[in-house]
């Protein structure tokens, strides 16, 4: 799910699913929604993203259960779609490394506001790609995809989610087009200060599963990385081993999720940041017991938690559930 503002300022919710994509057009009060879809009925749509630079270009990362992956592009908010001429694909084997094949593109990020037409893509198995023509042609970042050290940090195709390890959460600093972040599950968080010519790990303070060496980037498993819209020096991260915050130029992550209610814990996948308050975010903890992918602690219907990180560095956490059928809601603190 992603959001965006159309060229007339209308709110859009973009839902990418294993059965196709839907676009929800909201009114200014977000009280009523017009549903547009399905697009690509039956296709697996891994990510659907609106280009904030024009409010009408959409990119969809698509695959199916029986065909290879591709990217579809629309310049009219989904009324028509064109397929990429050259979708993300790895180059031939170099540096003595095994050749790889993209299984699917998992992540799409529009480039900096000053770089119209630039997009970034993350794939499974892990790879980083860039387009300079609005998503028609994609070129691999050889410094990541074909680097022996990164290949070791990638691990194997079995070191990830059930449908493969992913490069995700590609972030462009809104103040500096050369400043990039991305995360890999598994393989840590990485940063570039030179527009992607080189990257370095950013994992200090992040914990790993007991028994493994936190100094080895391979074992770090970030699930979601976000940059505060109201404070580009602040990052939040939902990790396999907790919820973290990092204030730049610092380099050490602080595990803020320890103050989550013990019965909820701080393991999950999505993170949603407040658009104006860099101390407030929402997380979606998951049941880490019998059924791992379930986002429902204790088997309850989907729960939502808010973590408020106060400036002094301590953390308050509250958890609440959406209204029940009877209209009641409950909250814990």
């Amino acid at each position: 799910m992603s959001t965006g503002s159309g060229e007339r300022g209308q709110l859009l919710l973009l839902a990418a699913t294993r059965k196709g994509a839907w676009i929800y057009h909201g009114d200014s009060e977000r009280r009523s929604w017009q549903v547009d879809g399905p697009h690509f009925l039956g296709h697996i749509i891994h990510h659907l993203v609106l280009d904030p630079r024009d409010g009408r270009t959409l990119l969809a990362a698509a695959s199916t259960g029986h065909l290879g992956p591709t990217i579809f592009r629309s310049t009219d908010l989904g009324r028509s779609w064109q397929e990429a001429v050259r979708p993300p694909a790895f180059g031939p084997s170099i540096n003595g490394l095994e050749a790889r094949a993209v299984d699917h593109t998992f992540w799409l990020t529009p480039g900096h506001a000053d770089q119209p037409g630039v997009w970034y893509a993350g794939t499974s198995p892990q790879g980083l790609f860039r387009s300079e023509d609005g998503g028609r042609n994609w070129a691999p970042f050889s410094c990541i995809n074909d680097d022996a050290q990164y290949r070791r940090w990638f691990g194997t195709v079995q070191d990830g989610t059930p449908d493969g390890p992913k490069l995700h959460s590609i972030i462009v600093d809104p103040r500096d087009a050369q400043h990039l972040y991305f995360a890999m599950s598994g393989g840590g968080v990485h940063e570039s200060l030179d527009g992607g010519r080189s990257f370095a790990p950013l994992v200090d303070g992040m914990e790993v599963v007991a028994g493994f060496d936190a100094a080895d980037v391979t074992f770090h498993d970030p699930h979601c990385l976000r940059l505060c819209p109201s404070n580009p020096d602040r990052l939040y991260q939902q990790n396999h081993c907790g919820i973290y915050r990092l204030d730049r130029p610092g380099r050490r992550w602080q595990r803020i999720g320890r103050n989550m209610p013990a019965e909820v814990g701080d393991i999950g996948f999505p993170l949603v940041l407040h658009p104006r308050d860099d101390n407030t975010l929402w997380v979606f903890p998951m049941d880490g017991s019998d059924v791992w992918p379930r986002t429902s602690p204790g088997g309850q219907p989907a729960s939502m938690s808010r973590v408020t990180a106060v400036p002094a560095g301590s953390v308050r956490a509250s958890a609440c559930r959406p209204a029940r059928p009877g209209g009641q809601s409950s909250a814990r603190r």
Partner: protein, 85 residues
């Protein structure tokens, strides 16, 4: 050569039967891609491996190698295997 396109790829060709030429399976698929851009990558990955759920039959014989030579005539059937319940 006449080529039978599976339904899942007819969004590229607009027809079940098309014509394509090539001295090998790989050459024929590249000719198909010239006519219908994007169709080859849905069937063959960047390592030239035939994707898991795609099968090629030349006059009834299944082909496993992209370099398999093709005769001038005949029929190539592209079959999309489905998996799941």
């Amino acid at each position: 050569m006449r080529v039978l396109i599976p339904s899942a790829l007819q969004s590229y060709t607009g027809a079940a039967w098309v014509s394509a030429e090539g001295a090998s399976l790989d050459a024929l698929l590249r000719d198909l891609d010239r006519q219908f851009p994007g169709i080859r990558f849905r069937m063959v990955d960047e390592r030239r491996r035939i994707r898991r759920h795609i099968r090629f039959f030349l006059n009834g014989e299944m082909l496993f190698d992209p370099d398999h030579p093709l005769p001038a005539g005949g029929e190539l059937h592209i079959v999309q295997a489905l998996s799941g319940g």
